[in-house]
């Protein structure tokens, strides 16, 4: 190799360092096309034209409409139902079902892995195969803020006509409890009024 004379290692080291410096500098020392500035100017002009006048107005109106729709959807799906519903927390094990025992309030702390049902909707007059008295015990459970209920049954099995049942993960229980607490304050159930 031409540089490897073996007699002057310091000299070689310097030359290699210098070569690396020069080469890395040269690699980025690119040629820029002559019309680069003109192209940037043209692109800016085109972009401004496309974002001015009717186009911008149309885009703004569109964005406002989309935001309004999103807000309406959020309100109707998330906010409104929690305000309208009278949530009822209840639990029932597979054994209860087999024995035909009614859906009953249960103050329990769910542990990870439990199926948790959050029953909400107008207070049920009947709970399907397992009857509960009018303004039954499940309404009492709702009057207890912070009550969380676990069931060993799938939520679908708790379903009763006119009652919305949502499955909740254990992480969401706190949220459910809080919303119940709020709701009970604002709109006491008949059980709470008694």
């Amino acid at each position: 190799m031409p540089l490897d004379d073996g007699n002057r290692p310091e000299e070689m080291r310097r030359r290699i360092d210098g070569a690396i410096d020069r080469e890395t500098f040269a690699l980025l020392d690119v040629r820029v096309s002559r019309d680069f500035v003109a192209r940037v100017e043209a692109a800016i002009e085109a972009s401004e034209r496309s974002w001015s006048g009717p186009v911008r107005r149309f885009a703004l109106i569109g964005a406002v409409c989309v935001l309004a729709l999103a807000a309406a959807a959020y309100y109707s799906i998330v906010v409104r139902p929690s305000g309208d519903r009278v949530p009822v927390l209840a639990s029932r094990s597979a054994g209860d079902t087999a024995a035909g025992r009614p859906l009953s309030p249960a103050v329990a702390t769910p542990t990870p892995g439990d199926a948790v049902a959050f029953v909400s909707g107008p207070a049920p007059t009947r709970t399907g195969p397992a009857p509960v008295s009018e303004e039954g015990a499940s309404a009492d459970a709702a009057a207890e803020p912070g009550v969380a209920v676990a069931s060993t049954e799938p939520a679908e099995r708790l379903e009763v006509p006119g009652v919305v049942i949502e499955r909740l993960s254990v992480e969401r229980i706190q949220v459910a409890s809080l919303s119940i607490a709020r709701l009970v304050e604002r709109e006491p159930t008949s059980a709470a009024r008694r």
């Binding site: 290699i16 360092d17 070569a19 690396i20 410096d21 080469e23 690699l27 980025l28 690119v30 692109a43």
Partner: protein, 186 residues
């Protein structure tokens, strides 16, 4: 006119002030994009897009950093995103690495050319291209002499210490590979 003044005027809608900024930083913008992509054509595209984006965002530019650093951060981000994209990968796959990296770089003879071993330069270029991307980025952006370490850290989005250590690792690796080619000082 300095950058601050040009930026202020451009923020007030003076198009010619922004054009002056483009003229001033076109080379360094294309060079920075080239460091990420190794392709003159793509670097040119990315630099143009970055100037366009900078123009749009200029009103929000609060001068926490210099205009140059701010601009080059935009350039790098766009170039880096493109490097991860399918089109770029396909291009890399189709085109030999050596050919890409030599497209627009200045290999023209300089006054120093006579002092530099041409063969060593060619070997070096090939080795730089084959460095792992993170080390190559730090070497080219952080220690090529085009940017300060502080600027390079802002552009690459890593701490200054990381730029220095990566650049130094890149140099060590280059020297080791050069030694394998017989360029070692004994």
């Amino acid at each position: 006119m300095d950058d601050v003044e040009l930026v202020e005027r451009a923020q007030q809608g003076d198009q010619s002030a922004f054009t002056q900024l483009v003229v001033r930083y076109q080379k360094v913008a294309v060079g920075t994009a080239f460091a990420a992509l190794g392709s003159a054509v793509e670097a040119d595209d990315v630099a143009q897009e970055a100037f366009l984006l900078a123009h749009r965002k200029l009103v929000g530019f609060r001068r926490d950093a210099s205009f140059k650093t701010w601009l080059l951060t935009i350039v790098w981000r766009r170039a880096f995103n493109r490097r991860r994209g399918m089109a770029h990968r396909l291009r890399v796959w189709l085109e030999p690495e050596d050919a890409r990296w030599s497209q627009a770089t200045s290999l023209a003879a300089s006054t120093e050319e006579v002092l530099i071993d041409r063969q060593l330069r060619e070997h070096l270029r090939r080795l730089v291209v084959t460095l792992p991307p993170k080390l190559r980025d730090a070497l080219l952006v952080g220690s090529s002499g085009h940017h300060t370490v502080q600027e390079a850290a802002a552009i690459l989005g890593v701490p200054e210490g990381t730029v220095k250590s990566r650049a130094s690792s890149a140099r060590r690796l280059l020297k080791r590979k050069l030694a394998g080619l017989g360029y070692a000082a004994r």
